[in-house]
C-alpha cells in the first residue's frame, strides 16, 4: 500500500514540528511516506466559506495528483487539511453532478479512488509497532509517567459521516495510541469541544476564552499535558494560551511527538523546542520521577530477595 503524504501549508510553516515528528516517526513504524509532488493548498475554511465549489475543487486537485502518482491513500496530519480532503472525497462520491464537473474544473482526470486518512487513524493502525518499540525499552522514561488529555477538537470527529471517528462524542482512538505509547490518558470533558479553530487571527478573544476552558479542564482532570493532532488546535492551546496572564498553560504535544518520545527519539528531532509552552521542565520532572521510581522498585526487589535469602539461611 502506497501512502501519499500531504503536509499542507501549516506543516511547512508554523507547525513544522508536526511535519518533523511525522517524518521521524513514520519510518520507525515501517510506514513509507511519499510527499505528493507539487501539492497545493486545500483552501481551508476560507475557500469553502466563499464558494462551495472552490472548497471542493482545491482539495480535489491534490487528490487527483495523489491518484496520478499511484497512491492508494493520502495521509494529512493537519486535521483541517484532512477534513477538507475527506469532505471533498465524500461529497464527490455522493454527488454525481459534482463528480462529473470536477475533472473539467481541475483540468485533470479524477476517479476519486484515493482514500483519505488522518494521523490518528494511521498511528492506530500501527499501534502494535508502537508497543513493540516501547517495550524495546529505548523510549524516554518520562512517557511512562505522563498523564495526558487527548484532545480531538472538531475536525477529527465531525462531520460525523466524514471524520470516521469511532464515536463522535466519546472517541477513543487517540487514547488507544496514547496507551500504546505507555502514557496514561486521563478522563476529561473537553475532548471534542471546539478551541476556536480558524478564528485564531480574526477573533483572538474568542479563541483565548475557548482555549482556556479546555486547558483548565485538562488540568483539573490531572493531565500533565494535552495531546493534539491539529496545527490549529496546537496554535490555539500552545501559542495563544502561553500568553495567558495566570501562566497556567499546559504543554501541548502533537500525537506524533508523543509516539516519537515513546520510541526513543530526542526532543530535538521531534521539534519540541519549537513550542511556546516549554515542555522541558515537564519532561525533566517526569524523567526524574521515573528514575526514582525505578530505583525504588529495584531497591524493594533487592530487599525482598535479601529477606527471602535471609529466611532461607
Amino acid at each position: 500500500m502506497s501512502i501519499g503524504y500531504y503536509p499542507g501549508c501549516s506543516l511547512h510553516g508554523t507547525s513544522r514540528e508536526f511535519d518533523e515528528s511525522t517524518r521521524a516517526v513514520a519510518p520507525a513504524l515501517g510506514i513509507e511516506l511519499r510527499e505528493i509532488d507539487d501539492w497545493s493548498c486545500c483552501g481551508a475554511s476560507s475557500a469553502h466559506s466563499s464558494s462551495h465549489l472552490l472548497g471542493v475543487a482545491l482539495p480535489a486537485r491534490n487528490l487527483a495528483l495523489a491518484e496520478e502518482q499511484g497512491h492508494d491513500a493520502v495521509v494529512a496530519p493537519c486535521a483541517a487539511c484532512f477534513s477538507r480532503l475527506a469532505t471533498t472525497r465524500y461529497e464527490i462520491a455522493h454527488d454525481a453532478n459534482l463528480a462529473e464537473a470536477i475533472p473539467g474544473i481541475i483540468e485533470r482526470p479524477f476517479a476519486n479512488s484515493v482514500d483519505v486518512v488522518n494521523i490518528v487513524q494511521l498511528l492506530l493502525a500501527h499501534a502494535e509497532k508502537i508497543r513493540e518499540g516501547v517495550s524495546a525499552g529505548s523510549g524516554t522514561a518520562a512517557v511512562g509517567q505522563l498523564k495526558v488529555a487527548a484532545y480531538y477538537g472538531c475536525l477529527l470527529v465531525r462531520p460525523v459521516e466524514v471524520a470516521g471517528a469511532d464515536d463522535s462524542e466519546v472517541p477513543t482512538t487517540m487514547e488507544q495510541v496514547i496507551s500504546a505509547c505507555g502514557a496514561t490518558p486521563v478522563k476529561w470533558n473537553m475532548a471534542v469541544e471546539c478551541c476556536g479553530g480558524s478564528f485564531s487571527m480574526s477573533r483572538t478573544s474568542s479563541v483565548m476564552r475557548l482555549g482556556r476552558a479546555i486547558v483548565d479542564d485538562a488540568r483539573k482532570a490531572g493531565a500533565d499535558a494535552i495531546v493534539v493532532a491539529c496545527p490549529m488546535c496546537h496554535a490555539n492551546l500552545d501559542f495563544r494560551q502561553a500568553a495567558r496572564s495566570d501562566g497556567d498553560a499546559l504543554p501541548v504535544l502533537y500525537l506524533t511527538q508523543l509516539v516519537g518520545l515513546a520510541m526513543g527519539m530526542t526532543p530535538e528531532t521531534l521539534g519540541l523546542q519549537r513550542h511556546f509552552v516549554d515542555t522541558k521542565p515537564l519532561l525533566d520532572t517526569l524523567d526524574t520521577r521515573a528514575h526514582e521510581l525505578a530505583a525504588k522498585t529495584q531497591a524493594a526487589a533487592a530487599a525482598k530477595t535479601k529477606a527471602r535469602d535471609g529466611a532461607v539461611v
Binding site: 462524542e169 466519546v170 470533558n189
Partner: protein, 669 residues
C-alpha cells in the same frame, strides 16, 4: 351502475356525469346514474329502488375504497333482495380522484376502473355467508394494568379468561410507580386490590412466569400453547412464608423491580404484594444452577430447599407446555423504557452526548419512581445512588429518545410531560429546599386535570421550567454539568446538578414483534401493534379475533390503558354474545371431478384447510382420493388456486373468470 360524487371529493377531479353517461352504453348496463352521496340514505335507496325496479343481477358502486363502504352497499343490495356478493365497488376516490389533478385524465381513468368492475360483476356468482362456531373463552397476554383490566372485564362479563404474564408476578409497570398523576394517589393502593381480584376470580386462570409459545386456528377457534417456565417452586405447596428467600446466600443480584437500584437474592418474590406470592429461582444467577450449567456433578448450594418446611422448592422442575382452546386473544404486552446506553436494538442510537448515561446519578424516570416510592430502596427518601446524599438540585430532562428522529424515535411518548411534573412535585414535597429544574420542548398536558396539574407544579410547588433541549452533560467533580439553552430568554442555561432524571421514551416490548408475527397482526416501524383502523377500530387488529389494549399499541397513561382494555374486553364479549360468527364466503372450493389428488394445495395452504376425501365408485369401493377445502378454516388467500396444476380449485369471489374479465376490460387494442 352508480357513480358517487362523494361531495366534492370525487367530483372535483372526476367528471361523474361523464362516467355514468359513458357506462350507460356499456353492454349489460341497465341503469347508470350519478349522485352526490351514494352512502347516504337517499343514495342507498337509489340502489335499492333500481334493483327492485329493473330486477338487476349485479350492482357496481363507483365511489370510495371497498375497505370503506363495500359492506354498506352489499347490505343495501341484500335489503332489496339481491345476493350481496353480486354487488362490488369501483374505487375511484382513493385510487383515482385523490391522486390526480387533471380532470380529463382522472375521468378517463375512472371510466376504465368502473368498466373492469362491471365486467367482473357480470361473472360474479351469488354466495352464502359462512357460519363458524365460537369458543367462549379468551386469553389475555400481559398482566400489567391493561391486561388485568381486560381479564377482569371479560370474566365479569361471564366468559372464562386465561391471563398469561411473563414475569413471576402480575402488576406490570404500574406496580413500580410511586404516586400517579394528576391526583397523586398511591399507585399500589389502587392496583393491588385489582391484582388480588384477578387471583381470586373463579373465571380467571392465571399463568405467571409463562409465555405464549404458539398459536393456531382462527377467530373463535384458536388453539394456544403456553410455556410455563420452570419456577423451581411448587405452586401448590408454597405458602409464601419467605423462609427460602431469607436463606438464599447469593444476595447481590440487581433488583429489576427497583429498576436496579437495590439488590435481591436468587430465590425471590419480586415485591411484597406480588400475585401470586410465590417465589421463583432466578436460574441465571443461582449458585446451584450456575454450577449445574458448568457441568458440576455436585450441587454447590441447596439452602433454600433446606429451609422450606413444606418441601416446595423443586430444583428438577422443567418448563411445561399447556394447550388451551380460546375464541379471542387480547394483546396487552405493555412497554419498556428506552435506555440512553451504548447498546441499542436495530434502528436506535444511544446518547453519546450524555456519555451514554454512564455518569453516576443520571437516572431514568422509572428509577426516580422507585426512589420516591415508600416501598422503594430508600423508603421514599430522595437520595442519589452514588453516595446516598440528598440532592439539592435535580435537573429533569424531557424528550430523551422521544421526538428525536436522529436517535431513531420520532414519536412523542405522551406520558413524560405529566410524570415529570409529578416528579418535581414529589421531590419538592420531600426536599423543601431542593431545586427542581425541568428542560422541556413543549408541554403536552391534554387530559382531564392535566394542564392544571402541570401549572400546580410550576405555580405552587416551584418547579422551574426551561424551554430547550440539552446539548451535553458531563461529570464535573461532585456535580453533573448540564449544558442547555433557554430559548425563551435567549441565554445559555448551564446548570450544576446533583442528580439528573431523564424522561426516556416509551418503547414497545422487544418481543412484541415476535408475538405479532405469531398472530399475523400488523405492527408499526417501532414495533407497536397497529390497530385495524386508527380511528374507527382502535382496539381490533387486522387479524379477526385478536384485540389489543394498553401501551403495546402506543404510549399510554393509566386511564388510557384501562379505557382501551375495557374497550377490547367489550369487543370480546360482543363477539361471545352469539353462538356462531358470520364469515365472508370468500373461500376456495375444489372441483372434485377434475382434482387429481396431488395435494399441492395442501402443501401451500397456510391454514391447514385442505382435507383428504376418498372417492367411491357406484359400488361403494374407494377408487381414488381428492382434496376438499374446510370452509370454516379457509381464509380465502387463493394460494392453492394459483398452485393447482389441474386448475381444479376456484376462489369464490375471485375466480379466474372474474379476473380475466377484469384484465380483458382493462386493456383493449
Amino acid at each position: 351502475m352508480f357513480v358517487c360524487h362523494c361531495g366534492e371529493n370525487i367530483a372535483r377531479t372526476v367528471d361523474c356525469a361523464r362516467v355514468s353517461e359513458t357506462l350507460a352504453d356499456h353492454p349489460g348496463v341497465v341503469v347508470s346514474l350519478d349522485y352526490k352521496y351514494m352512502c347516504s340514505d337517499p343514495g342507498q335507496n337509489l340502489v335499492k329502488q333500481a334493483i327492485e325496479e329493473h330486477g338487476l343481477t349485479g350492482v357496481v358502486v363507483a365511489a370510495c375504497s371497498p375497505h370503506m363502504h363495500e359492506k354498506t352497499f352489499r347490505r343495501a343490495a341484500a335489503r332489496a333482495g339481491l345476493n350481496p356478493f353480486l354487488c362490488e365497488m369501483a374505487n375511484i376516490r382513493e385510487q383515482c380522484s385523490w391522486i390526480h389533478d387533471d380532470k380529463v385524465e382522472a375521468t378517463d381513468k375512472a371510466i376504465e376502473i368502473v368498466r373492469t368492475i362491471v365486467e367482473k360483476v357480470k361473472n360474479n356468482a351469488p354466495l352464502e355467508t359462512i357460519h363458524i362456531p365460537v369458543t367462549k373463552r379468551a386469553i389475555v397476554i400481559g398482566g400489567g394494568i391493561a391486561g388485568i383490566q381486560a381479564a377482569l372485564d371479560i370474566a365479569d362479563g361471564g366468559a372464562d379468561v386465561i391471563l398469561v404474564e411473563k414475569e413471576p408476578s402480575i402488576g406490570g409497570h404500574m406496580s413500580q410507580l410511586s404516586e400517579t398523576f394528576p391526583t397523586l394517589d398511591c399507585s399500589q393502593c389502587i392496583l393491588t386490590p385489582r391484582m388480588v381480584e384477578v387471583y381470586q376470580h373463579p373465571r380467571i386462570t392465571l399463568h405467571t412466569y409463562s409465555e405464549l409459545e404458539s398459536v393456531e386456528g382462527f377467530i373463535g377457534n384458536f388453539t394456544v400453547t403456553i410455556r410455563k417456565k420452570a419456577r423451581s417452586v411448587d405452586e401448590s405447596l408454597c405458602t409464601g412464608c419467605g423462609d427460602c428467600t431469607a436463606a438464599c446466600p447469593s444476595r447481590k443480584i440487581p433488583n429489576e423491580f427497583d429498576a436496579n437500584l437495590s439488590l435481591r437474592p436468587a430465590i425471590y418474590v419480586p415485591f411484597p404484594q406480588a400475585v401470586p406470592n410465590i417465589p421463583v429461582i432466578d436460574r441465571e444467577h443461582c449458585t446451584l444452577f450456575k454450577g449445574r450449567a458448568k457441568g458440576r456433578e455436585k450441587d454447590l448450594c441447596g439452602k433454600c430447599k433446606e429451609s422450606c418446611l413444606r418441601n416446595a422448592v423443586d430444583y428438577e422442575q422443567v418448563d411445561t407446555l399447556v394447550k388451551e382452546h380460546v375464541g379471542a386473544i387480547v394483546i396487552a404486552t405493555g412497554f419498556v423504557p428506552y435506555s440512553v446506553g451504548r447498546d441499542q436494538p436495530d434502528g436506535l442510537k444511544g446518547y453519546a452526548e450524555f456519555n451514554y448515561g454512564e455518569i453516576p446519578d443520571v437516572i431514568d424516570g422509572l428509577q426516580f419512581e422507585r426512589l420516591a416510592s415508600a416501598s422503594g430502596p430508600t423508603g421514599g427518601e430522595i437520595r442519589r445512588p452514588s453516595d446516598g446524599k440528598v440532592p439539592k438540585r435535580i435537573v429533569f430532562v424531557q424528550c430523551v429518545g422521544s421526538r428525536d428522529p436522529e436517535k431513531g424515535i420520532s414519536y412523542c411518548s405522551k406520558i413524560c410531560c405529566m410524570y415529570v411534573a409529578k416528579h418535581t412535585m414529589l421531590y419538592r414535597h420531600k426536599v423543601h429546599d431542593g431545586e427542581a429544574i425541568v428542560f422541556y420542548m413543549d408541554i403536552r398536558a391534554a387530559g382531564k386535570g392535566y394542564e392544571e396539574f402541570v401549572r400546580r407544579a410550576i405555580e405552587e410547588d416551584g418547579a422551574q421550567y426551561i424551554r430547550g433541549r440539552i446539548s451535553r452533560m458531563y461529570r464535573d467533580g461532585d456535580v453533573i454539568k448540564v449544558v442547555g439553552f433557554d430559548t425563551l430568554s435567549g441565554e445559555p442555561a448551564i446548570i450544576d446538578a446533583d442528580m439528573v432524571v431523564l424522561a426516556t421514551a416509551v418503547r414497545p416490548h422487544k418481543r412484541v414483534k415476535q408475538l405479532a408475527r405469531m398472530l399475523s397482526t400488523a405492527y408499526d416501524q417501532y414495533g407497536f401493534i397497529s390497530a385495524a383502523h386508527p380511528k374507527l377500530r382502535p382496539v381490533e387488529t387486522n387479524t379477526a379475533g385478536v384485540f389489543v389494549a394498553g401501551a403495546c399499541m402506543s404510549p399510554s397513561d393509566i386511564p388510557d390503558s384501562i379505557a382501551t382494555a375495557s374497550a377490547a374486553a367489550s369487543k370480546v364479549l360482543g363477539m361471545f354474545s352469539s353462538d356462531d360468527l358470520e364469515r365472508e364466503p370468500t373461500v376456495a372450493i375444489v372441483n372434485e371431478r377434475t382434482c387429481i389428488g396431488c395435494y399441492s394445495c395442501e402443501r401451500v395452504c397456510p391454514y391447514g384447510a385442505i382435507e383428504h376425501v376418498d372417492v367411491c365408485n357406484r359400488d361403494g369401493e374407494i377408487c381414488g382420493h381428492v382434496a376438499r377445502v374446510v370452509p370454516g378454516v379457509c381464509q380465502g388467500c387463493g394460494t392453492c388456486v394459483a398452485t393447482c396444476p389441474s386448475k381444479s380449485v376456484e376462489l369464490l369471489g375471485f375466480t379466474d373468470e372474474q379476473i380475466f374479465a377484469e384484465i380483458n376490460a382493462l386493456l383493449t387494442w
